[in-house]
Each structure stands twice: as C-alpha cells, then as structure tokens.
C-alpha cells in the first residue's frame, strides 16, 4: 500500500465511481442543511419528482437569519420568517430531521454538528456553507458546496468532484499566553493570502496544532476557506476521541470500539508526500488584528496600519488603498489607537463555550467602555445553556454586554444584528469584507479575548500584557 496523507485516505475510501478524465463520484456521509442555501434545492427535487435519498444522513437547522432576541418574540422580518417556514415545510415533506427555532439543539450548523456527535473522524461532510471546513478539525473531509450541489447530494447522497491537491501547514512552537487559535489561523492566512490554498485541502500539523483543544482546532479549520482552501483538517487523536465519546449521535458500545480502531489509522503516513508545505512558528506569533477588507489584510496588535505603497503587486496596492479608505484608516496609525463602536463575540469561528469562558475572564469586574455597544451571541442553545450554568451570562451582562440567543447573527448580518454605516467593530467572526456586517460597516477580525479586552478598553489592546500583569 503506497504512503497516503490523511486526506487521501478519506478520499479513496469514499470514491463510488472514478472516471478516467473526469470528476470522481464520492459518497457523502453527512449532509447539513440550513435555511438560506436549501430552498431552491428542495424545489428542484420537487420539480423533478425526486426524493431525498438518505434523509437519515441529512440534518437541518435554522441559523443564518434567525433573530437573536428572545425566542418568545415574533420574527419581525416576513421574508426571513418565510425562509424559516419553508425549511420546516421541506424537512417535513422530505423526512429530514430539523433542529428548529425552539429546539434545544438549534444553533449555528458548524457548532451543532460537532456538539451532537454528527461530525466524526473519517467522514465526508458537506453543507451549503463555505465554513463547513470547520468539521475538518475532527479528521473529516468537510467542505462547502453551492445550492445545485446541495440538490445533487439530497438526491444521490453523492457528489461529483475533482480530487484537490494537498497542502501541509505545519505550526510548531509554543505560543505566548494571549495568542490563541484565532491568531494562529489569521497568521497563516496573512502568510498564504486569500487564494493561497485554492484547489487544495490543507492538513494542519505540528506540535502547536497537536496541543490544541477541539474547539481551537475548529477555529483553525473554520477559517481555512479564508485562505482559499475548501477543506482543512487535523488528524484525530485522544483529544478528538475524548470530545466525541458519549455525544448524542456518536457510535456507542461495540460500534464505538470498532470505530475508534478505524479512526486510529487516520493519520498521514510517515513517507506520504504533500504537494506543498508551509511552516510557521507559533512561538513568534503575536495577537492579530485585521486592518483591511480581506482576512489576509492582517497585522500584529503591536503594529501599525501598513502603507499601500509598500505592497509589491499593483493589484494589492490598489486593493490596500481602497481598503484603507473604506476602513477609515491612515497608513502608519498604531493598531492600538483604533477606537471602536461595536464588539461582537460570536459566529461559527468563535462562539463555543471555551471562547466565551476566556472572553468572560477579560471583562469580569470591568465595564464596557463608554460609547461601545457589545454583544455576545452563543453558537448554539447548548452552549448558551452551559454558559448560563456557569454564570457567564451574568458576568457579561454586568459588564455591559448584551447576552443573546444563538445564531449566525452579526457575522453576516442577515438578521437584524447589523452595523450602522461607519460603525467600527471588533469581531470574532471570519470575514471583514466590505459591507459584510452591514452597509459601510467596518470590521476588524480578532480573537475572543482580544475582542473582550477591546470592549472594556474602547480600543485594541495587547492582551498579552493582561496576562503578565
């Protein structure tokens, strides 16, 4: 048997049919569905008189446009409500399990998949959402697809795809306290660029990755798409198995024993070859803050806003100049002198329990700075419940944060949680594109502890100082 990478092992075990010069047909183990990218797919099935081939492997929730105000209040936006109702109707008609608005299992699709044990090592997982890469943290091959492909998977439980190339991202070294998984992935994207991983699947390796918790690995894999790669993965290990064991849909008893045996084989063989390798030293990393309108426009919190003239490529030069104008920043400004109007802690990148615990510790006994509006949106109802059991909601509320219901919320602003034009926001989400969080809104991507510290300071601060003092 030739040496294989983790990705190649999963790919080859899922090939249903191979065409000589065309795409392969691969089997899909889990199909996650949400309200925004699925209505047209279900409609397509209906028009062609097709059924969902494996409703037992298909799970749906509502997350993108749900309000984060109390669930007892009616949904104000009739178009959002319609989309939510349509998903409910489609799931009923096609026999798909739905974790609806009032379910205890509702939440951001990439938070609930792992939480419920739907996400497991060695699986192929798809969803009509680019941040499906999150699930790769478990050693699964997980990637986002378009609505036509959603329809294809619903109808056939297979996907037609060309085999991607492989990219190894090796992160070694010990990061200083205050440097988080978010800073690692932002540093990686800063290095490879927004298209650095195009056409590839990334495997994150090295001792800095190995030491991360599952939630931290999810943060890294989640933002893989921001570096252009559709999927990112981490080989499963004890940390993975410990996280999965006992979860609702995880294998139990004999099935667990057999599964674990197979999962232990899921690592890249010592002699396997990657198409490319990138190396980073976590020991040299500093908390990151984006200054522009792509996640690759990022720098150290100790740094300054760059001068567009310093970029070599003419395309980047004009893009950086445009970004500074949009962001209302001047070249040479200290990052820590940037004042904020809003702080958002949430999204499929950073809304899990450890994120909220870490953020709460930064604000405990302090007050949100005058003029700043800050909110916490837990990733799921389960996260919210667990956080409330630990009293995190009180910590946040007492310091002046809003404590909300779960959903995608201000990460993409499809619900009423949006920035006003010109508002500047420290956000734990994944995209700082123009208008992403609201028309003419200005987004700076940071880690949960950086966002929390910024909320009580009114501007960006180097959280490493808070740990040493």
């Amino acid at each position: 048997m030739p040496s294989q990478t983790l990705f190649e092992k999963i790919w080859s075990s899922h090939v249903v049919h191979e065409e000589k010069d065309g795409p392969s047909l691969i089997w899909i183990d889990r199909h996650l569905v949400h309200e925004v990218t699925s209505p047209q797919a279900f409609e397509g099935l209906r028009l062609a008189d097709r059924r969902v081939r494996r409703p037992d492997l298909t799970f749906a929730t509502v997350d993108h446009n749900v309000p984060t105000t109390p669930r007892s209040e009616p949904i104000q936006d009739p178009i959002s409500k319609n989309q939510i109702d349509v998903l409910e109707k489609n799931c009923g008609e096609f026999g798909v399990t739905l974790f609806g608005l009032t379910s205890v299992n509702q939440g951001i699709v990439h938070v609930i998949g792992p939480e419920l044990g739907l996400t497991l090592p060695g699986l192929t997982i798809v969803c009509g959402d680019s941040h499906t890469s999150t699930h790769g943290a478990f050693g699964a091959l997980a990637f986002g697809i378009g609505t036509s492909e959603v329809e294809h998977v619903l109808a056939t439980q297979c996907l037609s795809a060309n085999k991607p190339t492989s990219l190894e991202v090796r992160v070694d070294g010990t990061p200083s306290k205050g440097v988080t998984a978010k800073d690692i992935i932002l540093s990686i994207i800063g290095r490879i660029g927004t298209a650095g991983g195009t056409g590839s699947v990334i495997e994150y390796r090295g001792d800095a990755i190995k030491r991360l918790s599952m939630e931290e690995r999810m943060t890294i894999c989640n933002m893989t798409i921001e570096g252009g790669a559709r999927a990112g993965m981490v080989a499963p290990d004890e940390t993975t198995f410990q996280y999965i064991r006992g979860r609702k849909y995880a294998p139990k008893g004999e099935a667990w024993t057999e599964s674990e045996k197979q999962w232990r084989k899921l690592s890249t063989d010592p002699n396997a070859v990657f198409d490319r390798t990138v190396r980073l030293d976590a020991g040299k990393m500093v908390p990151q803050v984006t200054w522009g309108t792509t996640p690759a426009m990022v720098t150290d919190v100790t740094g300054t806003v760059p001068d567009p003239e310093d970029f070599e490529a003419p395309g980047m030069r004009s893009a950086a100049a445009r970004a500074l104008e949009y962001m209302g920043l001047k070249a040479g400004m200290e990052i820590q002198s940037i004042n904020l109007d809003r702080v958002f802690i949430g999204s499929c990148t950073n809304s899990r329990l450890p994120d909220l615990i870490a953020a709460s510790k930064m604000v405990e006994g302090k007050k949100v700075a005058p003029g700043v509006r800050a909110m916490v949106v837990p990733g799921s109802q389960l996260v919210k419940l667990q956080a409330e059991k630990q009293g995190l909601d009180r910590v946040f509320v007492e310091s002046g944060f809003e404590w909300r219901e779960s959903g995608c919320s201000m990460c993409l602003g499809m619900n009423p949680d949006i920035l006003a034009p010109g508002d500047r926001c420290a956000s734990t989400s994944n995209r700082n594109f123009e208008g992403r969080q609201g028309y003419n809104g200005r987004t700076h991507l940071v880690s949960p502890i950086m966002a929390a510290a910024a909320a009580v300071s009114g501007h960006f601060v180097d959280v490493r100082d808070w740990y040493t003092s």
Partner: protein, 193 residues
Amino acid sequence: MPLDRVNVDTDQIIPKQFLKLVERTGFGRYLFNDWRFQPDGTPKTDFVLNQPRYKGGKILLARENFGCGSSREHAVWALADYGFKALIAPSYADIFYNNCFKNGVLPITLNEPTISQLFDEVEKQESFSLQVDLQKETIRKPDGVELGFKIDEFRRKCLLEGLDDISLTTLHEEKIRAYEQKLAPFQVINVGV
C-alpha cells in the same frame, strides 16, 4: 465589461440582504448592489455596470481570486440573471468556479499578462468586444487574434450538451448501492443505543 479589482468576494457580488428569496430567479437586479447603487437606490455613475458604453455586455473581465468567500450560489444566479454568459479572470475561488458550471456560466481562466492586456484594450477601444467559442475553446478579439483557453473536458461537455448532473450520477446507481451496503459503523447514524 471590465471590473478591475482583485479578490472580489461573493458578498460584493450579491450582498446578504438579498439571500432571503426562495427562488433561483430575479437576482440580477441586486448584482453588485452596494457598489452599483447609493443607499437610496440611485445608480453610482462611476461603477462599470452603470456606464452606458458597457450596456448589454455579456462577458465580465475580472481579476484574480474572483468569487472568493461565501458558497452562495446566488452570486452566480445574479451574474447569469443580469445577462453574463462568460467570465474571464486569472483565477477563481473553488466553490464559485463549480457553481458557475451548474448555471451555464463559463468561467474562463487566462494568464495575468493576457488579462492585463485585455483590460488595456477594452479601456482604449469604446466598441471593444470578444467572441467566445466554447466548442473550439477560443476567444476572438476584434483584431482577429484568437486566444486559447482550456476547460475540463467533462465540464465542457456538460455545458455544451446541457447535461443534468443528477441524471448523470443516477447512471451509476448500482455502484452507489454497492457502496451503501458496506458503510463503516461510524458512517451510519447511531441513535438510541
């Protein structure tokens, strides 16, 4: 129609406030909404889609990493609905690239110098137009020069013959069924154990 910006993301192509529709049609009027219109709906005259000389253009000339970000197929629906039949860029984001083929939009890849030259030519010549021949995989310029491009054979065939992906897959029903019989214990759903 030339759009001279790198890393154009799908949030720009179709902003999120327009993703709430449950149909596939009617997205063209929202294409590049925030670049194209003022908040009150009046057109921004300096944006390329609003310039009279490009009216009716069916080919979008773009820069690297076009269509990055979100997987929303609405981005391609908006481009197609607006009237674009083909895109020409040095590179595309993966999910967007796939989505194009599902909707009869041809994403052509040319190298950077050729693209830059096309940007120059289109700017200099008011009536500049290109003719794309998918059968021959060529682009014909007004001066008669032909530029070659390559599209994956399977995708080219699907586009030319308008083949339906799902029907193609169901031709392999026996293989799918055979695979389905041999799922590992963790591939199936474990409930109530």
